[in-house]
């Protein structure tokens, strides 16, 4: 069934259609929230809030527009707003929680350890980026969306998106480089 038909049925009150919508998007939204927030429990709460917001806003959806892009924009807005509201209450996260580490690959112990260390460094570095830049980097480099898709979700011109991603990547690379230099000195 096409996504617009599912949305129409949801608006008519069909619980089956709502289940289809949840099945189609819950994993993507949950992972996006997890990559942005860094905590499993927080990502679960954020996903629930986002779907609640979606349910309340479905009547405002313009059927001429792309539903996925519209829903990702709504999610992005919620995640950034939530971050702005709570950033003073949180300490900076510098380690991935156990859910991420549990899903590590089956590489040999040494390679696995190096990879794990490297990913931890990237994660903490990602958290140090400003929220808008972090979101563009997540959409492009973690979720693998095209520049055009990122621009639509972020509601920004293509040039601004490219420059934000460029800045974000450079910042991450500089942090990694500094860390490597410190390790080499030790």
């Amino acid at each position: 069934m096409q996504i617009n038909n599912i949305v129409k049925k949801c608006l008519d009150g069909s619980e089956g259609a709502w289940r289809m919508l949840v099945n189609a998007y819950s994993k993507r939204i949950f992972n996006m929230a997890y990559q942005f927030a860094g905590s499993f429990e927080e990502a679960e709460d954020l996903t629930q809030d986002i779907f609640l917001k979606l349910y309340n806003s479905l009547s405002k959806y313009d059927f001429k527009k792309d539903f996925s892009a519209w829903f990702f924009t709504l999610s992005k807005n919620h995640l950034i707003d939530h971050y702005r509201r709570t950033k003073w209450e949180k300490k900076t996260r510098d380690e991935f929680d156990e859910h991420f580490l549990a899903s590590e690959t089956d590489d040999g112990p040494e390679i696995g350890l190096v990879k794990e260390e490297s990913k931890r460094t990237i994660w903490s570095a990602l958290n140090s980026l400003p929220s808008e830049i972090r979101m563009t980097v997540i959409l492009r480099d973690v979720q693998g969306k095209s520049y055009e898709e990122v621009a639509e979700i972020m509601s920004l011109p293509l040039g601004t998106v490219k420059s934000r991603i460029n800045r974000g990547r450079l910042q991450l690379a500089k942090i990694l480089k500094e860390k490597k230099e410190i390790e080499n000195e030790v």
Partner: protein, 165 residues
């Protein structure tokens, strides 16, 4: 080209977005500058690690919470629907005004002064009513004295069938 300018172009270089001339300039610079080469290797390592992020599965409990959103909203809507009836609107408006006045009185720091002024106004009103009542009593008693004369005069009026004299 300076290192800063080169560093700005490293990300587009990694994505293969540069023209052949720019590409050649970057390659030449990376061969000559160790700092920029290390930064470029960190950049590609960071990008690889980001794309390697594992996709987590959604837990059963979260899925159930998401499925139940319409049912919860429906229950909420049913339980509070009666408050939205148009016939209740004047009652709700009156209740709002009443509660506003009560809260204004209850949380006012000069509550004693308000009590005093209400007390004074009540007493003044009571005094006025008493005075009016007393006046009304004297008026009825004075009317009683002239009651007979008034009745005769009325009967003698032309419109009631009497003579003018």
């Amino acid at each position: 080209m300076k290192c800063e300018k080169i560093q700005e172009l490293l990300s587009p270089y990694l994505e293969g977005e540069l023209n052949p001339e720019e590409k050649r300039l970057i390659q030449e610079h990376l061969e000559a500058c160790k700092e920029c080469l290390i930064l470029f290797s960190s950049l590609s390592e960071a990008q690889r690690s980001l794309s390697d992020f594992p996709q987590l599965e959604v837990s059963e409990s979260l899925l159930n919470r998401l499925y139940s959103i319409p049912a919860k909203k429906k229950r909420f809507r049913l339980s509070f629907d009666f408050l939205l009836r148009p016939s209740l609107q004047p009652v709700l408006a009156a209740a709002t005004i009443f509660l506003t006045l009560i809260s204004f009185y209850a949380f006012n720091p000069n509550r004693k002064a308000i009590d005093k002024s209400i007390d004074r106004q009540l007493h003044l009103g009571l005094n006025k009513v008493e005075k009016l009542y007393a006046k009304a009593e004297t008026f009825t008693s004075s009317l009683g004295e002239y009651k007979d004369n008034i009745l005769v005069s009325l009967k003698n009026m032309k419109i009631f069938g009497g003579t003018k004299e």
